[in-house]
Amino acid sequence: MAAGNPLVEVRDLVKHFPIKKGLILSRQVGAVRAVDGISFDIVEGETLGLVGESGCGKSTTARLLTRLLDPTSGTISFEGRDIAFMSHEELKPLRRDMQMIFQDPYSSLNPRKTVGSIIAEPFVIHAVAPDPKERKRRVQELMEQVGLNPEHFNRLPHEFSGGQRQRIGVARAIALKPKLIVADEPVSALDVSIQAQILNLLRTLQRDLGLTIVFIAHDLSVVRHMCDRIAVMYLGRIAELASADELYGHPRHPYTGALLSAVPVPDPRLAKMKVRQVLGGDVPSPTNPPQACRFHTRCPKAVAGTCDVDDPELAAKAGGNLAACHFPLSDTEIAARVPTAAP
């Protein structure tokens, strides 16, 4: 799919959360199709972005990748080994290599533990650096590395600001030098002036440690800044998958086009020039997604008889983007709506 060695290969990944009902014994009457058959590679050393609106399945995908959730079907091969249905014992040694950073730096840290012991947790769990002195030294190194004062080793999480708490989360995630980091909305809860600090930190760490990052966010500007390749998700499916330049330069899927058109640009002149394309309606329920192309109910280009009967495959379109669409956007359509369109 992309150049370089894939670290993770995801094929036909599905996660359905059953909805149960019944008189005496409950039986399954439906499912929330959170992730409904997605395939992609994560190339070693890259940052892969997953974007989409709430309910598109991006966070579920993150939790499947790190096996915090068990998939319904499909494969996730991590360095060639399928971890999709591995038992928790088998997974344990592999967990060192994949770590997660969460959105809310407030609730993801145990309030009664010192920062030192929070960051040291991975060492304890995986029996690395058993000597307490050695462990403390390594924790303080990590704190230094993420821009925390190592002398604050014994402080509690509430003594830190939001940005600093997210740094603690980052330090914990990189402690065991993992190969893959899955960051789920890592800056959404932070103030604008603090966001940049964390984004820069993640970029520096990736360069220094050679990390592979899956970066999940709803903010398209942040994703553009952080990611090499981006998958746009809609209702549990990948609508478009392309490199950042391709995706923002010439989005092919009408949904990507609408997303980019909707992002407010902090430049009044550009804002005036652009025709803001406003999608009608709301995202349909993932319990009962539209037939065939998931987007056809809201798509300005949908053609009856095609889009509502024929499910489009993710396939190469003009410019190299992979898009699941029968009628991809043309260059003139793109130029009118998308502020980042390549001239």
Partner: protein
């Protein structure tokens, strides 16, 4: 909704089956006094005892006796017969039931109304002297045992030996007098039974209301230009009171049997008193009957409460 109620009814039936099995097991298998001997009276001979045993089918195997009891219960709503004085249990329960209902429902009204009023005032006037006095009094009321409160109430208020002599004394309650004559006799028991509950409800409502009043939709209500009183009663209390109504249902269910102490102190011939006396006399059939009857009451009340909750809070769906 219909399926939900149906499912709950089936679960209720299952639960009652287990309750009846358990009570039957406890009273028939575990060593207690032999009912036949109790029935035979003072001048008993082995022969009379054996005759009674046979008459009452006491020698049948446990399971046979259990299922015949269960059959009577299911098909004729028959709770068996008191072996001791050869009286059917169901009429005894039904005779006592109105008295207990009068006591419990009246008390529930008293504690719910006073709990809500005190809780609301405390929440609205948070931190003031009124709030502190109310909450401290509530703590005392919660901590005081019901029989102690009952005796204190009798000492202070009852017309025969009370210092103030405001209300009719203990033992003046007579079911034959009819409901309205008895209301005055019930004043003291209501107050005593309601005291601790009123205190708990006041504290519960206060904390609920304080939480609700910091919700965003309260801010919206104020931003609409509503009067503060309307904000509190129509928007705040509506949310704060809903969980309390469900607690109320459960508490009433539980109290149907839990009013033993109050009924005893004030001499009210309710279900609690009935089972209390039965326990003293070792009258297993009555104890068993009242236990089952109360279990049924609690189960139905909790079903009622859950259904009610769906009406009170539109977000709840089954």
């Amino acid at each position: 909704m219909g399926t939900y109620i149906f499912r709950r009814l089936i679960w209720t039936a299952l639960l009652l089956f287990f309750v009846s099995a358990l009570t039957f097991l406890i009273f028939n298998v575990l060593p207690t006094a032999d009912p036949a001997k109790l029935r035979a009276g003072r001048n008993q001979t082995p022969e009379t005892v054996a005759a009674i045993r046979e008459q009452l089918n006491l020698d049948d195997p446990f399971l046979v006796r259990f299922f015949s009891y269960l059959g009577d219960l299911l098909f004729r709503f028959d709770f068996g017969t008191s072996v001791l004085n050869d009286e059917p249990v169901r009429p005894l329960i039904f005779e006592a039931l109105p008295n207990t209902l009068m006591l419990v429902l009246g008390a529930a009204f008293v504690w719910f109304a006073s709990g809500v009023v005190i809780g609301t005032i405390s929440a609205v006037r948070r931190g003031t002297i009124i709030d502190r006095v109310a909450m401290t009094t509530a703590l005392v009321a919660i901590s005081a045992p019901v029989y102690w409160l009952g005796l204190v109430a009798l000492y202070l208020f009852s017309s025969d030996l009370g210092v103030l002599g405001l209300f009719p004394a203990a033992g003046t309650y007579d079911a034959a007098d009819g409901i309205f004559t008895n209301i005055s006799s019930l004043f003291l028991p209501w107050l005593v039974l309601a005291a601790a509950f009123a205190a708990i409800y006041a504290r519960l409502l206060r904390s609920n209301l304080l939480e609700v009043m910091s919700e965003d939709y309260i801010r919206t209500a104020r931003a609409k230009g509503l009067k503060e009183r309307r904000v509190i009663f129509r928007h705040g209390l509506r949310s704060a009171i809903t969980p309390i109504i469900t607690v109320l249902g459960l508490d009433i269910g539980i109290l149907m049997g839990g009013a033993i102490l109050t009924e005893s102190v004030f001499g009210i011939p309710g279900i609690g008193r009935l089972s209390f006396d039965a326990i003293n006399r070792n009258d297993i059939d009555i104890v068993q009957g009242t236990t089952l009857f109360l279990a049924l009451g609690v189960c139905l009340m909790s079903l009622l409460v859950d259904v009610l909750y769906a009406f009170l809070d539109p977000r709840v769906r089954f």
